[in-house]
Symmetry: C2
Subunit: 147 residues, 2 copies
DNA sequence: GTTACCTGTAACCATAATAGTTACATTAAA
DNA sequence: TTTAATGTAACTATTATGGTTACAGGTAAC
């Protein structure tokens, strides 16, 4: 199975908040860029707000980044939108048979390995910031405009 | 979401085939160790067979490892049981708005990053073999028997 | 204060994957 | 021929996703 697209949508939103920082970023505007329903955006925005990545207020149109681009990593977004719980990227089968040497040890053997793999993934995400993504988008735009 | 427990069950099966290599490993026997239904085991065994990790034959009771423990990595198992497709660990939202600079570039910006994270995870899995898991289980057994 | 507009949230739906279950055809060995 | 195992298909319950509608609550402009 795949990790929810909430993650990629979260990145999209944050990048757009930067690139449109002088505009009014309503959920409807953001939804039109992502191409989804405004309620979906508001749900994800709620998560980003809880993680203190964005500033939004009931009744007031528009959202802003709550901190500098350069210190928001993709791992922050990944955690914010709750796509994978702590140490639960891999699921381990429950209740193996304790009367079997494999059954009674497999979980303890496997869990640290799975944890390491998950950490390797998360470390990769922690090394990329929203600033990197924004710069990449700007660069791609320039490359295309001179074609 | 989590990666299917087919992966951990696959590892369990392979380790057990080694530790019980002198016995007859029917799907019923394996199922009793994993604590699930024999048909579930047979389905997973079918995938392991297709990946040439185990040898089984219709009508003949028992399964054997098809290659040496030391060269079967967890990545081999992970691919065999088809828990995550190539480059699809992360899902990316479809059809972002091409009239927005973020919308028209976000996928191209994000996909290589996601791919790197997935590769980091898979590299970790490629460094652990079934032999490592078996040794760990044996060691845990010994540690417990002397308690 | 009332209107207009936005956010916050709940309720609901369709879809898809998981894990399990039953059943049975197919195959091989005793 | 009988027995027993594998290989599969069909079906179920459960769960997460992503979307949709609806509306309560907050804020600002008039």
């Amino acid at each position: 199975m795949s990790i929810s697209s909430r993650f990629s949508v979260g990145i999209h939103i944050l990048a757009l908040l930067e690139l449109n920082k002088d505009g009014v970023n309503t959920s409807e505007f953001l939804a039109s860029s992502v191409n989804t329903n405004p309620a979906v955006i508001r749900k994800i925005m709620g998560m980003l707000k809880k993680a203190e990545l964005v500033e939004i207020h009931a009744g007031i149109a528009g959202a802003k980044l709550a901190k500098s681009l350069s210190i928001i990593t993709l791992l922050d977004v990944y955690r914010a939108v709750d796509v994978v719980s702590e140490n639960e990227l891999f699921s381990v089968h429950e209740n193996p048979n304790p009367d079997c040497s494999v059954g009674r040890n497999i979980q303890e053997s496997i869990i640290p390995i799975f944890s390491n793999a998950q950490i390797a993934l998360e470390n990769t995400l922690s090394k990329v910031t929203i600033e990197d993504v924004v710069k990449d988008i700007v660069q791609k735009e320039q490359a295309n405009s001179t074609k």
